[in-house]
Amino acid sequence: MSTELAQLLERVRALFEDVDFTAVREWKAEGADRKAVGHMPIYVPRELIHASGMLPVGVLGGGDRLEIIRGDAYFQSYICHIPRSTIEMALTGRLDALDGMLFPSICDVIRNLSGMWRLLFPDRYVRYVDVPQNFSPDVGGAFWRQELEQLLDDFAGLSGRAADQEALRRSIAVYNENRREIGALYEARSHEPWVYPASELYLVVRAGNVLPPEEHTELVRSYRQLAAAEDRHEQDLSRVVVVGTFCEQPPLGLLLTLERAGCSIVDDDLLLGQRWLTDDVSEVGDPIEALATAYLECSCQTASVYQPEGRRGAWLVESVRRNQAEGVIFCAPSFCDPALLEQPMLVDALAAAGIPHTQFKYAENTGQFAAIREQAGTFSDSIRLWSDA
């Protein structure tokens, strides 16, 4: 492996493993008035934070690197893992670098977590971002515009700097580019998955949670170039799409296990917080209007929004076809109602399309993958041993 690539990977791994948000602290240390705003995984208009001169920081739980002590004190055993580690990080001062926290409407867990935040940290800025479930421009759109305006006001108060239209349009452009670059990487991986192993790609994209978007865009671009320059060989693996993981992220070991068990990931719904818009936001005209329209017209399908007419199933089948996948692995966080409740519907859609699939659950701190390896292994065995027979 080239030194540059090794160094890049080293860096993104360090960013990933650092549960103290050192990168954010360092960024803030560079200017006395620098502020950072944390947000949970999805549907957060990071452009607004960026335009207000602050750093948007994606908070994705503590993974398997954090020992949970106080976090468990707040959650019964049948609640997923991400709120525990998030609370743990907050109570142990790891989130002190964040000047505010946004909780988008992902599910009841995150929603109530926003209330817990209010109770536990009455002095910090916190806001529940109620994303509209109504997609008519005059109804849901109007509501969302008002929410966005309010957010913008809040951010102006927080940063002491009101974002003007120009700043907003600039931020929109910055994020458009970031998403395009990530999109290009996904595209490349879909063609040659052996060049971009999931465990690398994941870390590279994930670094965007703590880096300024401009820097992250560069990082993604150089990774794509460096990896392409490596001499990596095609292996005899099954091509799979991994779904179900949009909020609590799986441990890295799980992605590695899947690959070792013979499954090559060609598409996934990991890290949707950075990729939830499927198209560019308009860089001209009223920026708030542009952001609201983008949400209504080109936000990705997740279990968090109401899906009329089984749209998610169609989307999944289409992803399998587009990426020439041979099967789908459902990989949902334990106790995640949104992901688990929609699974049977997606399974039906796959069954109707004759696409093989398998499923298992994990927690972000799962450390034993024996059972998952067995299942994924059997799945890839069954795709390979019988595919040509």
């Binding site: 020992e67 949970i68 002590i69 106080r70 976090g71 468990d72 004190a73 707040y74 019964q76 055993s77 701190n365 799962t366 450390g367 034993q368 024996a370």
Partner: protein, 440 residues
């Protein structure tokens, strides 16, 4: 002497504590819990009576300044003699049961050989018994089941003849025989056994002069003749509903642990009890009254039984785990604390080449970590803290707890008493006493 009894019928062990009318503990007994709860509570109580009697002897000897030099050696001797007698008696009952198990139909073909082999094993166990109760012996456990079981299995493995008499057959005999041995109470009363031990100890005690031997006999006689009168008793613990006690003599183990810890360490405000299959975190006020508590839910992960499985897997006594874990140089991160998976996880990690001590250290930390979240849930550790229950006897668990409490709550006084396993029973006995006082 008037006494008040507290019995804590736990999932793993049954404990009894005797208090005198001033609330001073005068006796403690422990046995492994078994299917016959009544027997378990009777045995624990008898064991407590035995220690009470020993304490009387100690007091009588102490009362006579002339006996100072003999007293020191006499008491341990007495205890060893007693334990050994008791062990032998149980061993004999085990032999009878083993023989009857060996006579069962399915062993018809090998019956003769099996009988001989059993006799041979038991005879060797009897010899080994001497070693368990030697002056310097370190016993793996206090319970007959464990002691005899360990010896038996080693011998069975040695004498098994694959193809003829399988190890599995022999171990099966033990599993079958131990039940009736455990679930019946010895014919010989404990007082008799104590009496016999006293006689034996008197004869074997290294005598000083003629006068001393006589004075010793007098003191012992005095201790022997004191009548112990049981006034009332209170039961608690997991199995309390099945104790042969009326409802008003039953108390929740939460209250008992809270009160017991308060009496042992009056400044205690937080109590953590890790028992065989449950963990409780309790907050108490300045009077030992419980103000809040948390228990584990329907899963026994990370409780004492976990350590039991591990010990089994490594063919060690639970006593030995802690010290071994303390030799660790690093602490392996353990993921599953499912009690049943404990053995599998251990094996898996050993096969990955990790060191036994380091894995053990990780296991202990994992258990304490689970307890830490219950603690946090009950309100954390704000002031003085007491760790009770069987796992508090384990030095590695204690060390992990010290560390985690310090890391999370800062330096706090952490009390651990060698008698921590009796905390619940002590609380129960205190309830018995205070009920009596109220009535009076």
């Amino acid at each position: 002497m008037k006494i008040f009894v507290g019995v804590d019928l736990g999932s793993t062990t049954t404990k009894a504590v005797l208090l005198d009318e001033h609330g001073e503990p005068v006796g403690r007994g422990i046995t492994n819990s078994r299917s016959n709860y009544e027997v378990a509570s009777r045995v624990a109580r008898q064991e407590a009576l035995v220690t009470a009697r020993f304490n009387l002897v100690r007091a009588a000897l102490a009362a006579d300044p002339e006996l100072e030099s003999v007293a020191e050696g006499f008491l341990p001797l007495l205890e060893r003699t007693f334990r050994r007698e008791q062990y032998r008696e149980q061993l004999e009952r085990l032999r009878v049961e083993l023989q009857s198990a060996a006579r069962r139909d399915r062993h018809r073909e090998i019956h003769g050989e099996l009988r001989d082999l059993v006799d041979r094993i038991v005879a060797e166990m009897d010899e080994l018994a001497g070693r368990h109760y030697g002056a310097l012996a370190v016993r793996k456990s206090d319970f007959f089941r464990d002691l005899a079981g360990a010896d038996y299995m080693i011998l069975a493995e040695r004498y098994a003849r694959p193809g003829e008499i399988e190890f599995e057959t022999l171990s099966g005999l033990f599993d079958r025989a131990i039940l009736p041995v455990e679930n019946s109470v010895s014919e010989t009363s404990v007082e008799d056994l104590v009496g016999r031990a006293l006689d034996a100890a008197l004869t074997t005690a290294p005598s000083g002069g003629q006068g001393e031997t006589e004075r010793l006999a007098v003191a012992v006689d005095e201790a022997r003749s004191t009548r112990i009168e049981e006034v009332s008793s209170v039961g608690t613990g997991y199995g309390r509903q099945r104790l042969p006690f009326p409802k008003e003599q039953i108390r929740s183990e939460i209250l008992c642990h809270g009160l017991g810890a308060h009496v042992m360490f009056p400044a205690t405000r937080t109590v953590l009890d890790i028992g065989g299959q449950d963990t409780k975190a309790i907050q108490v006020d300045e009077n030992g009254i419980v103000t809040s508590f948390q228990m584990n839910d329907r899963c026994a992960a990370g409780c004492g039984r976990y350590l039991g499985y591990i010990a089994d897997e490594m063919n060690l006594g639970v006593h030995e785990l802690g010290p071994l874990a303390q030799q660790a140089t690093t602490c392996v991160k353990i993921n599953s604390t499912c009690t049943v998976f404990a053995g599998a996880e251990l094996r898996e990690r050993l096969s990955l080449g990790q060191k036994r001590e380091d894995i053990l250290a990780g296991l202990h930390r994992a258990i304490v970590l689970r307890a830490m979240s219950l603690l946090a849930r009950s309100g954390g550790v704000e002031e003085e803290f007491t760790f009770t229950g069987g796992v508090a006897r384990n030095p590695a668990a204690v060390a992990a707890l010290h560390q985690l409490v310090a890391e999370n709550y800062g330096e706090r006084t952490v009390n651990i008493s060698p008698d921590s396993i009796y905390t619940g029973a002590l609380g129960a006995a205190l309830f018995a006493l205070s009920a009596e006082r109220k009535a009076a």
